[in-house]
């Protein structure tokens, strides 16, 4: 053991020497040690131990991970030549295959912990599809096997290339040239996707560039591996520890990094390609991978899920030491680089890196196509309509609040989206668009943690604030103000806060009426909705008279065939049927139906809804045969267009069943109800309240036939799953259920149903 007192000196010289390239060490040590022979001996023995310990790799105390590689230097038909690299998954060796063909391959040896006993099987399953891949941008996978002790290896085409990022920087490729290269990569990935192969670990280290006839050609390696190689124990822990096969931090998509999400699809590769583009453009990752690596998994996941990376131009514009180097490697100056990235390339990259895969480019091809558009100076798809985008963006930054206030935001965003189309034409109108955005920003400020008092922001709070602000906030633009009042009234209506909805509608009518005219389309629409809210509050006569007034004005202003007019007519029919005037309701809805068939088409959704409504009206008006006929038509269309498992189809079915019952055709009715119940159980789940009403109806038919047991058991379920209060209250007096009277089980059921009603009322 060495003399301790000399250690600091030895240590310093050895450390200095190791920071130099091996060739220079000798000279350095001689100079540093001078005449001190024992010092020199000591230093040299340490250095030679360091150098010889590393075996095949140049400078590490690494010994081989793989027994087989060490002992025999050959695995199966492959003899190992030299180690190409080592990573989270294992080692890659250059190897020579001797049989059946003689060729050089890259042999990937998977290290322990990165596979389990099913890895090979999974890979074999994948082979068929892998064999189908034939694309210049994809390196071939030849073979897979296992060493005698079960360690899997994969043989693939040896690509003597460098990672795409290194290649581009070394060759100082310009932005345009980089994009051209990436387009080729996208084409390769697209090809693989068409053969149902997802890469799952796309990153520069897996996208190598070779030069063929002086032209760069990207080759993607490791296709199909990710699926075969799965850590032995999956879970969040594995992510930070191994950090590779759930994906590579910085390149992995949010959904793939989330252990809770199982259905990773081809769009995960789109995200990774987006990250590669980002690095090619800016020289750094969207998120700082280095810092990530050291953070706890939850935080990394949260960041992936909740944060957008800065746009490339922002990233490139950051003033730091690297800025010049990055720009130089792209044959440009920092300022020019930022300018080149700002706008379309920002949009494209951000679109590919959307956290929500629904908003990403759906395929690598779409991504490539937008890049091609950029190269051709055409407008890119990624750039959205400006105002909508801003509203969207805003909503996304405040995800929590929006989740709570989703209703509000949906209403507002759809409103804004609608408006933005019309508003973008002139400068004055653009100002208006800005005002909407500004107002909305104010509303959402409430959900900013700095501005709110409690922990939870409810839709209610957001709305209340908005309705307070609206008087002053948009006073300069009364037409817009009136529109917003209308929209917010709708939001209150959807929350069941009728009186608030009413007062906003009323103010909207007032403001809009004096600014844009009492007979403007907007004002009339608001009046229509005011009538609806009156109806909801049970103020039927008021609703009816308002509806009639609106109807008259709409007819005069826009004609009887106008969709707005028809909408009011249909609403009036509903009001009348509520008032018990089913005969007039039938007349009005017949009128609406005729017009809709003509205007919307006989099989349009709106037409079908009116058919359903009219059939109900007919039933109420004592014309069950007509009701059946109409409902049968509706059902047939629903079925043809939407198929069996559809809400419209099933509701037509139950309506038809009730008409049959009214007609006395109990068998038909029962058949339709059982069919409907089966569908409902499929689409809603068997225990959902949506099925309760159908169960009740079916039970009533069974009870009528004397099938007491079946009837009771169905009723039992219906009550359990939430029978509508109206039916629950009627149960005791329903003539169809007369056969159950005196049955103690039935008596208990009634008691339970009544208790549910009182409980619900107490809540």
């Amino acid at each position: 053991m060495e003399k301790h007192e000399n250690w600091p000196k030895i240590k310093a010289i050895v450390a200095d020497a190791l920071e130099r390239v091996p060739e220079e060490r000798e000279t350095f040590v001689s100079e540093a040690c001078g005449q001190d022979r024992s010092l020199r001996v000591e230093v040299k023995s340490l250095l030679s131990a360091y150098e010889s310990s590393v075996g095949l790799s140049e400078s590490k105390l690494t010994t081989q991970l793989v027994d087989a590689a060490q002992i025999s230097r050959s695995i199966g038909p492959y003899s190992l030549i030299r180690k190409l690299g080592e990573g989270g998954m294992g080692q890659v060796w250059l190897a020579e295959q001797t049989a059946p063909v003689k060729r050089r391959v890259a042999l990937k040896l998977i290290k322990g912990g990165m596979y389990d006993s099913t890895a090979l099987v999974r890979f074999q399953n994948e082979r068929q599809s892998l064999a189908l891949m034939d694309h210049p941008a994809i390196a071939k996978v030849f073979d897979a096997g296992a060493t005698p002790d079960g360690q899997p290896y994969f043989a693939m085409e040896y690509v003597a290339g460098v990672p795409i990022t290194d290649y581009c920087d070394e060759k100082k490729l310009k932005i345009v040239e980089r994009i051209e290269l990436l387009i080729q990569v996208c084409e390769g990935v697209q090809h693989a996707h068409q053969k149902t192969i997802i890469h799952r670990d796309l990153k520069p280290a897996n996208i190598l560039v070779v030069e063929i006839d002086g032209k760069p050609l990207p080759r993607i390696i490791d296709f199909g591996l990710a699926k075969a190689v799965v850590p032995e124990f999956m879970g969040a822990a594995q992510f930070t520890v191994i950090g590779s096969f759930l994906g590579t931090p910085g390149y992995v998509s949010p959904e793939q990094a989330d252990p809770g999400i199982q259905d990773v699809d081809t769009r995960t590769d789109v995200y990774s390609l987006g990250a590669v583009l980002y690095v090619l453009l800016t020289g750094s990752l969207p998120f700082d991978g280095e810092r990530w690596r050291r953070r706890p998994i939850d935080e990394v996941l949260r960041q992936l899920r909740e944060q957008d990376p800065p746009p490339p131009s922002t990233k490139a514009g950051r003033q730091d030491d690297a800025t010049n180097t990055v720009a130089q490697a792209r044959g440009t100056e920092p300022k020019q680089l930022v300018r080149a990235l700002r706008g379309d390339l920002d949009w494209i990259a951000m679109r590919a890196l959307e956290r929500d895969r629904q908003r990403r480019y759906a395929t690598p091809e779409e991504f490539a196509e937008d890049l091609r558009r950029y190269l051709r100076n055409e407008p890119v798809q990624a750039r959205p309509a400006s105002l909508l985008y801003r509203a969207h963006k805003y909503a996304r930054r405040h995800r929590v609040a929006v989740a709570i206030a989703s209703l509000m935001s949906i209403v507002l965003v759809s409103f804004v989206a609608l408006q933005s189309v019309q508003l973008r034409r002139t400068t004055r109108e653009r100002d208006r668009a800005d005002r909407i955005a500004e107002f909305m920003t104010g509303i959402f400020k409430l959900s900013d943690p700095n501005e709110r008092v409690g922990n939870q922001v409810t839709v209610r709070e957001v709305l209340d604030k908005a309705s307070q602000d609206i008087d002053k906030g948009l006073a300069k633009d009364p037409i817009l103000q009136a529109q917003m009042m209308h929209v917010m009234g709708n939001a209150y209506l959807n929350l069941g806060l009728y009186s608030r909805a009413q007062s906003l509608y009323e103010r909207g009518i007032q403001v809009g009426g004096s600014a844009g005219g009492r007979k403007s389309r907007d004002t009339l629409k608001t009046m229509h909705d005011l009538a609806w809210v009156l109806l909801q509050q049970g103020r039927l006569p008021e609703a009816e008279s308002l509806e009639r007034r609106v109807l008259e004005m709409q007819r005069r202003e826009f004609g009887s065939d106008d969709p707005d007019t028809l909408g009011t007519l249909s609403e009036l029919a509903f009001t009348l049927s509520q008032e018990g005037n089913s005969k007039e309701a039938v007349e009005l809805n017949s009128e609406v139906l005729e017009k809709q068939k003509r205007i919307l088409g006989p099989e349009a959704e709106g037409t079908l809804i009116t058919m359903d409504n009219l059939a109900i009206n007919l039933g109420e008006a004592g014309r069950p045969a007509d009701a059946v006929r109409l409902e049968q038509q509706a059902l047939e269309i629903h079925f043809r267009i939407d198929g069996l498992d559809n809400l419209g189809t099933v509701s037509a079915m139950t309506n038809l069943a009730r008409s049959f019952r009214d007609l006395g055709q109990y068998e038909e009715s029962e058949k339709k109800l059982s069919d409907a119940l089966e569908i409902e159980a499929r689409i809603f789940g068997p225990e959902q309240p949506e099925t309760a009403e159908t169960k009740y109806d079916l039970a009533s038919l069974l009870a009528r036939k004397g099938q007491i047991e079946e009837a009771l058991s169905l009723l039992d379920q219906a009550v359990d799953h939430g029978l509508p209060p109206l039916l629950a209250a009627r149960m005791g007096t329903d003539p169809f259920l007369a056969s159950l009277h005196g049955n103690p089980r039935f008596a208990k059921l009634i008691a339970r149903a009544k208790k549910q009603i009182t409980d619900a009322a107490a809540r």
């Binding site: 340490l46 790799s57 010994t63 990573g87 912990g113 991978g289 280095e290």
Partner: protein, 213 residues
């Protein structure tokens, strides 16, 4: 002693502190928190390590990093933890891990005396091409670690800092940067120390003067 510290907290009216809280207290200078922490961590690590060692087939690698991390996730009860806490946890765990694995290796060695096994270290450190990814993973291959343990003890006599650095990296799976943070030294110093320690260890292990070999 450890048990008493444990009892003291258990008997106090405060709710039992989480691992994160204990780490925080320890960082704040509360030595008692460490005393409470150690048996918790030790037990967890031991259970995990033994489970994995039993399951491992020969020729496979044991991933200390994975175990340490798994231990933390289990002890923290799934709560999110701060990066700082993690590093400090690993610092504690590295020492314990070394103890556990070396004990294990000694007991195995007693059973298989004569098997001529080499200690093999590998640190997958030659940085992959893009430096952002591929965390440093460390494995112990053929976990006959007694030689390494002895060598590390000798190294500690010469240079305690280097010995601790190796411990943190090898048994705790910390990166050079993280280990530097724990030791309170600069990154470059840590890097230099690491190189020298590797040179020294590889020489000593090759000489075979450590342990019984």
């Amino acid at each position: 002693m450890e048990f008493q510290a444990f009892l003291r907290i258990a008997l106090s009216r405060e709710p039992f502190p989480t691992v994160s809280e204990l780490l925080e207290r320890w960082r704040g200078g509360d030595q008692q928190a460490l005393e409470t922490l150690v048996p918790l961590v030790y037990n967890e690590l031991r259970t995990l390590a033994h489970r994995h060692l039993q399951r491992e087939r020969p020729g496979h690698t044991l991933q200390t990093t994975a175990l340490v991390h798994e231990a933390y996730v289990r002890l923290a009860g799934g709560r999110p933890f701060e990066a700082e806490n993690r590093t400090h946890f690993v610092a504690v765990a590295a020492r314990l891990m070394r103890q556990i694995l070396v004990d294990y290796a000694r007991s195995r060695r007693a059973a298989k005396r004569g098997a001529d096994r080499l200690v093999e270290l590998s640190d997958i450190e030659n940085e992959p091409v893009d430096k952002s990814c591929e965390p440093l993973a460390q494995e112990i291959h053929n976990p006959d670690l007694t030689q390494l343990d002895d060598a590390l003890k000798d190294l500690a006599k010469i240079d305690d800092q280097q010995s601790r650095l190796v411990e943190l990296r090898f048994f705790g799976g910390l990166t050079v940067e993280e280990a530097a943070e724990v030791l309170g030294i600069s990154r470059s110093t840590a890097k230099r120390d690491w190189n020298v320690a590797k040179a020294w260890l590889s020489r000593e292990l090759k000489r075979g003067t450590h342990g019984e070999a």
